[in-house]
Amino acid sequence: MLTVSQRQALKTGLRVAIAVFITILFLFPIYWLFMISFKTADEIYSFPPKWYPGQIHFDSYIVLFKDGDAETVWNSFVVAGSSTVIAMFLGTICAYSLARYKTGGEHLANWIISQRMIPPIAVVFPIFLLFVWLKLVDTYLGVILLYTAFNLPYVIWMMRGYIMDIPRALEESALIDGCTRWQVIWKVVFPMSRAGLFATAIFTFVFAWNDFIFALVLTRSEVTTYTVQVTHYFGGQSNFWAKISAMSVLGTVPIFIAVAFMQRYLVRGMSLGAVKG
């Protein structure tokens, strides 16, 4: 029979195998998309389909930078990033209030989540009107404000859940120790919910990042985001696949790096035990 450590190694090996399989499955479309950014037009439309390009060349990327299209990726980052930071902060403290003090009771919490039930397409035009009046059309501030509002319900509800997971006793003991309520939030709640903060932040960013309909209507030419720019490449009489995929690569790689660096907050193995003490 196998020893304990051998069984352990087998288990780990199995897990790795499954992990690899799942990753391949999920990454295949991304691989296909990435490869397109290196293919020539003939290779993209070749029959039978080519699984890898003949030559890796970075022309598409160079063109994007030269033409200034790559700037839209930066616009998206600025807009999505700022709105994420603001939404995470305002939303988490609001979530704390909801979780610990049940502020506003069920009504407030439900009203907040109901904001996410409205089909964006239906509200895009009234928001456009509002922005015209507030002179926020085609401005960074306007779009950031919108995405913040757009994501607050998500942040609030998610963080409320994560915060409810944290034992109250910790905060109470911190209060007894002399911390002010603000310090409790900073020193206890935020660190304890780090995993949840991170998970929520990623998707808050992603929701703002992926938005098309609001960006389309609320911007014209000053604050073009990457999602809107990409649609410029789909034409009735043209399809700039190389640009589409190169832009997508430009947009995904930084997030990949960010997640890679911060994924340790998500998983077990951190010395959370020390805080719990």
Partner: protein, 319 residues
Amino acid sequence: MRDETERLQAALLFCLLADAKVISLPDTSRADFSERNFKYLLVAPAIFVLLLVGVFPLIYLLLVSFQGITMTETATDFIGGENYAALLDDTRMWESLMHTVIFTVIALPIELVLGLAMAQLFLDKLPGRQVFIALLVLPVVVSPIVSGATWSLMFNHRFGPINQIVEFLTGNDSAILWTINPSLVYPAILAAEIWQWTPFMFLLLLAALANVDKSQLEAAAIDGAGWWRTFFRIVLPAIWPVMAIAVLIRGLDLFRLFDIVWALTKGGPGTMTETISIFTYVKGFQQFETSYTAAVALLVVVLLSIVVMLALKRVQLSR
């Protein structure tokens, strides 16, 4: 145009009044004065932003849904509940609601189970875990429009690999038209959707699982509890708040399904895969049936609110 601005100003006035109503809720805490201030202080900025951007559109929708604005008609006279009456008769609208429900009801459980399984897989140490997790987030980050277009290309019979793979596996040479064949359109859309959003559930649940009290798990292991029992008795209750909310959020988002369906089938063939968002888009954005779409949107909000309220009542979020 004149009418729009005036209407906007009237609605903003409404907002200010509504504003007052929302904040003054019964005070349920028995805390002292400063604590009460504190908790309101915490929610105030978020509520302010939400009100600023959220209330006006709703009031606008409400008002406009009782008017008769179309592409050619801009008069703002109230026409009563005509739009709502028309709504009830509109088979296409109800069908699109049904399509949306079908998508939601199929995709959500699959994404939940897959996400949970994946989270469990990556919870404990694993060589290269860092890379795996970062890679697995990528599907969500690709703009849905682009991912829809990519899947469309992949499903393409001549230029895409999927049919190639299928032929390789089954030896069958017929042209499989994923985005045209009525029996294949739903699986195709579901495949693209589940692919894109399972990582969402995966990451959220991973964070939740990571917070499960390790000591409890160790105790259960010592007691000799099997994996399933540990899961149902300890893990599930612990991650329940997060899981329930993740399901809620993902469910609401699935209800707004648009980009992927649009990229793959544009709601076709015919209107077979038309979701309520696509319907609203066509009617509101392309055909400018402003008032009618306002009524539809409000209907959707009401329906969803009822469903969510009912669901929340049955599900206990706090421990």
